[in-house]
């Protein structure tokens, strides 16, 4: 992100010079006036220039695309990238051949890539935005799988009266299990163990 501090006789002049230097337009930047100019006494004493700080507004989508393109290129992949923006987050859905390696075992490569992208894009950035990276709708498919798993295992716990411990999952996946089963009157759920090996446990309600 480009940023300059410029001082000039007036605020307007300082902004104009800053935009010139950054080669940006007024709507592409955030301006902060650090010091108001002071004409001084009869224009002699205490003559003070205006100082402004002008910073390029980050374009999350543009920046994330460049970041992802760079990484995918270095891995040797050329997927199609579809972007969906909502209030709280931006989803980048990748599709194309050979993208299995981007998902990894139970999505761990995809989660790592998403984690690093969020760090890189939101670095030094006050306007944080959550970035979600998905490959061929993997996240929705995984959610469906987890909901089915939760329902199947809750039936088993209800039938046998014995608790079931699931395999380790990340917080997001555990939440899907808890939420799916929260209204089930026959069983209850909790998590145990430490990250990254924390697991959901389903027990019968007595």
């Amino acid at each position: 992100m480009k940023k300059v501090e410029i001082s000039a006789k007036t605020v307007e002049e300082a902004i104009r010079l800053a935009l010139q230097k950054l080669e940006l337009k007024e709507d592409e930047v955030n301006v902060e006036v650090l010091e108001q100019p002071n004409k001084g006494f009869f224009g002699f004493f205490g003559n003070k220039n205006a100082v402004v700080s002008v910073e390029e507004k980050i374009n999350h989508i543009k920046y994330t695309k460049v970041f992802l393109d760079n990484i995918l290129n270095k891995i040797g992949l050329k997927p199609k990238i579809e972007v969906v923006e909502s209030n709280d987050f931006i989803t980048f859905n990748l599709s194309g051949d050979d993208l299995g390696i981007l998902i990894g075992r139970r999505g761990d490569t995809l989660d790592s890539l998403q984690f690093l992208t969020n760090l890189a894009v939101n670095k030094n950035n006050l306007q944080r935005k959550k970035i979600i990276i998905d490959v061929e709708d993997y996240r929705n498919r995984r959610e469906e799988t987890l909901i089915n798993l939760a329902n199947r295992l809750s039936e088993k716990v209800k039938r046998t009266g014995r608790k079931v411990i699931l395999e380790p999952m990340n917080p997001h996946e555990r939440r899907i299990i808890h939420v799916t089963l929260q209204d089930n009157i026959y069983i209850s759920t909790y998590s145990e163990g430490d990250e990254p090996y924390r697991k959901v446990v389903i027990i019968p309600k007595d």
């Binding site: 970041f67 990484i71 390696i101 981007l102 790592s112 984690f115 760090l119």
Partner: protein
């Protein structure tokens, strides 16, 4: 693979010009030695090594595609 580690590290740190990645080729694997400015160590390691782990996971995936074994080491 060296370029991937270098790009990831540069995207995360405050002093990208001080990022260095040295490639040491072993018999069966490639070791990538990552060096960053001392004040940037936290930015490539993270809480409980979370960032370092994510870097390794992504690099490992990329390496698998090329049929290589790659180890990323962060040098103090």
């Amino acid at each position: 693979m060296r370029e991937l580690v270098e790009f990831l590290a540069k995207s995360l740190v405050d002093n990208p010009d001080q990022v260095q990645v040295k490639e040491v080729e072993g018999d069966r694997s490639i070791v990538l030695e990552l060096t960053v400015a001392s004040e940037d160590m936290g930015k490539v390691i993270g809480k409980q090594g979370r960032i370092a782990k994510a870097i390794r996971t992504v690099v490992k995936a990329a390496a698998t595609r090329e049929g290589k074994k790659v180890v990323v080491e962060i040098i103090q």
